[in-house]
């Protein structure tokens, strides 16, 4: 756990809004993929983001990383990194600033990133393309450094001479983790880095991510929909539903005492080996983000829904120190 001196946030996200805006034939369509999200990521911790597909997890981290391409637009709010205090979001900083901090201070392991390696280039050249300009030094010196770093993720230095297709999925994933960590960045964003791997390899890779993160003392934003992975890996956890954060707090606390009805359902519905209790799916369907329900976006599927839920957006309130939840049933009468 983080000590008191580590409490200063490395990333401060405040009321972040990112929408997909399209205009075709005079028809404006706005999909509010991220709508008013606030949270902090502290030094030396892994902050997990959970939520089902199309709940806006990937859009949120793309906005934080400044990877905004039309139709995705950052509409409001801020996402400030401690290593870039002069800009309130990477997406608003000029290109040369972004180029300076990318990989050196902030790295991003993308979804399906085992497929980002150029199939025609040996791993060695991928390392040079990514990291040489930040680390500097001679060619031989850099290669030695890359080889030493590969050993950290339990890969043989001969991997440097291999082409991506010669490596298995798990090895390629470890190469991308090595690429993302070789510059020892302060902040790592990992978007579903192990979803495509099978369970045995996944456990290996997750252990490696944890060890490297601890060694370097970096902060990490870790996204997956797999609650089991969150329980095992993350320090704190945020639950997203339909573009909003509905609950966040210490991972152990959320699993022990989930407050939001959606979180409670997510945790209760997980089948476990050794437990044959009947588990139910949630009725209804995830809402469309182009026309989300008014008030609390979960209310059409919520077992605790009250009249106020359909009209008023619940505020994200700290019910206990360090454990926030946005729900009228938990915090009666507090609107956003």
């Amino acid at each position: 756990m983080s000590g008191a001196a580590d409490q200063a946030p490395v990333l401060e996200v405040r009321d972040l809004q990112a929408h997909f805006r399209t205009r075709y034939f005079g028809v404006n369509r706005e999909v509010r993929a991220v709508d008013g999200v606030s949270f902090d990521v502290r030094r030396n911790e892994i902050y997990g983001l959970a939520g089902e597909s199309s709940s806006g997890k990937t859009t949120l981290v793309k906005t934080i990383a400044g990877l905004l391409k039309p139709p995705l637009e950052m509409v409001g709010g801020s996402a400030r990194f401690s290593f870039l205090p002069e800009w309130d979001a990477i997406g608003r900083a000029p290109q040369e600033v972004v180029r300076r901090i990318r990989w050196r201070h902030l790295s991003y392991i993308m979804q399906g990133s085992m497929n980002v390696l150029n199939p025609l280039r040996r791993i060695r050249y991928s390392f040079r393309d990514f990291a040489w300009r930040h680390l500097g030094g001679g060619k031989a010196e850099f290669d030695a450094r890359a080889a030493a770093h590969l050993e950290r993720v339990k890969l043989d230095p001969s991997v440097l001479a291999a082409y991506p297709h010669e490596l298995s999925g798990g090895m390629r994933q470890r190469v991308t983790i090595a690429l993302a960590t070789i510059c020892k960045p302060e902040f790592i964003i990992a978007d579903e880095p192990t979803t495509a791997l099978d369970v045995v390899v996944q456990k290996d890779v997750l252990g490696m991510i944890r060890t490297i993160q601890r060694e370097m003392g970096s902060s990490m934003l870790f996204i997956t929909h797999d609650m089991g992975v969150h329980a095992a890996l993350t320090d704190r956890l945020g639950i997203m539903y339909a573009g909003r954060l509905v609950e966040d707090g210490e991972t152990a606390e959320i699993f022990a005492e989930p407050l939001h009805p959606y979180t409670r359902h997510l945790i209760a519905s997980l089948p476990r080996i050794g437990d044959i209790k009947q588990r139910e799916g949630l009725e209804g369907t995830p809402p469309s983000l182009a026309a989300p329900p008014p008030g609390c976006r979960f209310h059409p599927r919520c077992p605790l829904a009250m009249p106020v839920c359909a009209t008023t957006v619940p505020a994200m309130i700290a019910t206990m120190p360090g454990h926030r939840v946005a729900c009228h049933a938990v915090n009666p009468g507090i609107a956003a």
């Binding site: 001969s158 010669e166 298995s168 609650m227 519905s269």
Partner: protein
């Protein structure tokens, strides 16, 4: 007891490479098991990617012919069946419902077509009745689905339509290849529970192929665990998963992360073998 589905030492090998450098890859090696007619069950095949479980599914569906061995449905070799008669007995459900349906085709067309070809419905009226019946079994109705395109439904609904499509043919066996791995967490259990109801209420047998040990434990009656094409362990699902004996099964089970595994990675890891290119990892 007579067998509904019998796999008798089936193997499948693929060859790779050119004329002079042919490599043989054994995807499935000498797999045998049987499902009984009068005892509907959910039979699970577990394995990591590359363990040959999808190849096995394709052979049961008659898409690939086994290299050796025989698959019998109700005592008759699958290869001897006429395709249409076979599909009326055995129906597939695939992993990704968004890829299983043509995005430009209305969903009810699939259901009507299945009803007319395999379900024995003659004429539109009969096809509609049969379709509606099947959709009601999965908690939907024809009124909700008629004229809708795949993008208008969520992943969970679409997977239910895929299950309804399989049911329209009134099969005796369903082969489901990773049916819940693309479905959202909040909807996953409703699909898995639906399989249980199909077994209990309709007496359907289901071959459930998955890498998710937790849902296998939750729903299935018997299972086999495959590694590199070979069955390494088999038996009653709960007994096998509670006390696995084969080292690979134990490794699989220990790798499952559950809400109870909090802090699994807080400890420092012991040094593991260093992987080299070419070695499978």
């Amino acid at each position: 007891m007579s067998a509904l589905l019998e796999l008798d030492r089936i193997s499948k090998s693929f060859s790779r490479g050119g004329l002079l450098s042919t490599q043989r890859i054994d995807a499935v090696k000498e797999v045998s098991f049987a499902l009984q007619v009068d005892k509907p069950e959910i039979f699970t095949v577990i394995g990591e990617s590359g363990s040959g479980k999808s190849t096995l599914a394709r052979m049961i569906l008659g898409i690939h012919a086994p290299s050796s061995g025989q698959i019998r449905l109700a005592g008759r070799d699958v290869a001897a069946y006429e395709r249409q008669a076979f599909m009326a007995e055995v129906q597939p459900i695939f992993q990704n419902p968004f890829e299983a349906f043509n995005p430009l085709k209305q969903l009810d067309r699939y259901l009507f077509m299945t009803a007319e070809r395999f379900g024995g419905a003659s004429g539109r009226q009969a096809a509609e009745t049969q379709t509606d019946e099947a959709l009601r079994q999965v908690g939907l109705s024809l009124a909700e689905i008629a004229g809708r395109f795949p993008h208008e439904l969520s992943g969970g609904q679409l997977q239910r339509v895929a299950i309804a499509r399989a049911l329209v043919a009134k099969p005796r066996l369903i082969v489901a290849d990773e049916p819940v791995s693309m479905v959202d967490a909040s909807l996953r259990m409703s699909i898995v529970n639906l399989f249980g109801r199909l077994r209990d209420d309709l007496g359907l047998s289901i071959v459930y192929i998955t890498h998710d040990l937790a849902t296998a434990y939750y729903i299935s009656d018997r299972l086999v665990i495959m590694q590199k094409g070979v069955v390494v362990e088999e038996g009653p699902a709960r007994a096998v998963l509670s006390t696995p004996t084969h080292p690979y099964s134990r490794q699989l089970r220990d790798a499952v992360l559950t809400p109870d595994s909090a802090g699994a990675f807080r400890v420092t890891h012991s040094a593991k073998a260093i992987a080299t290119p070419g070695a499978s990892s």
